[in-house]
Subunit: 144 residues, 2 copies
DNA sequence: TAACTTACTGAAAATATTTATCAATAATTC
DNA sequence: GAATTATTGATAAATATTTTCAGTAAGTTA
């Protein structure tokens, strides 16, 4: 199910701002924060209240349509998630992020953590940092 | 090596505010943000400029003495890390966090991600969310 | 232990970010 | 196409973060 159908079925309207924001995030391919989204839309000539960006992100996030992605420097951005995917690998250079399938073999680790810490494990956050193919090429060419 | 020695050897001074802040974070056992640290210290009668809290956290973070911990709700806090530990499990109820040893068997997953995404993997962020022993007891007793 | 050097702090102000409010607007339903 | 009401945009308010700089205190040297 696409996000538009999901939104509708959840009882929310498919407004122009919401479409713009989601489309931008899908195109961007890298984590964006509210301010960046607002600025990019302005540059595209799409005028849209900053407040709406905040509200839209909050809604999308609460519905699980987008996810927070954490940069190594501590900045936080949002990216849309596909169904079944939950984890991102982020390029340390250009910040482009792609999803990867979660690991099945987390069970062992979970079992160990539960016995070590006596916490009951409910969920996890897993992200990788690295260098994307484009930036690897740039690196090899000595351009960065 | 303890953090005080580390700080000194890195050429930084062991000031009263820095000691207070680190001690508070060690006692708190849960991720604290700048404002929370400032407020808690005030409550303890320790007056300390908020700006110093920001600067201290930035320093500790850049030296790797503390680490960012992400709550499921998107809030970010800081916690001191022990050498060799890098990952936290956070209680969804009381936010108390404890460290656990990183997994050795991340190699397989890393290999898969590299071949799937063509990214070069450099680092990762792994965190678990769950229920701590204390809150499990409270849950069983029906108190929360 | 006193004087010296300079990293560090605190206070105030400037910026930046996030939230609240409410009338106007536009997406859906009938 | 009109009615209903969720959603938006603008303004203002609240919060959070950064900058600046003079005063202070941590570490060093004598």
């Amino acid at each position: 199910m696409d996000w538009q159908t999901f939104l509708s079925q959840a009882g929310y309207r498919l407004s122009e701002p919401r479409k713009r924001i989601m489309k931008l995030m899908e195109m961007a391919e890298r984590p964006l924060n509210p301010l960046a989204i607002h600025r990019l839309l302005c540059e595209q000539g799409v005028h849209l209240g900053l407040v709406s960006v905040y509200r839209t992100l909050e809604l999308f996030f609460s519905l699980g349509l987008i996810r927070q992605v954490f940069q190594p420097d501590g900045l936080v951005g949002y990216l849309p998630v596909s169904f079944g995917h939950h984890h991102f690998i982020v390029c340390q250079n250009c910040h482009r992020a792609v999803e990867f399938m979660g690991s099945e073999d987390m069970r062992e680790l979970v079992a160990r953590i539960q016995s070590e810490t006596h916490y009951l494990v409910k969920d996890h956050l897993l992200q990788f940092y690295g260098v994307c193919p484009e930036c690897q090429a740039l690196l090899e060419a000595g351009e960065i």
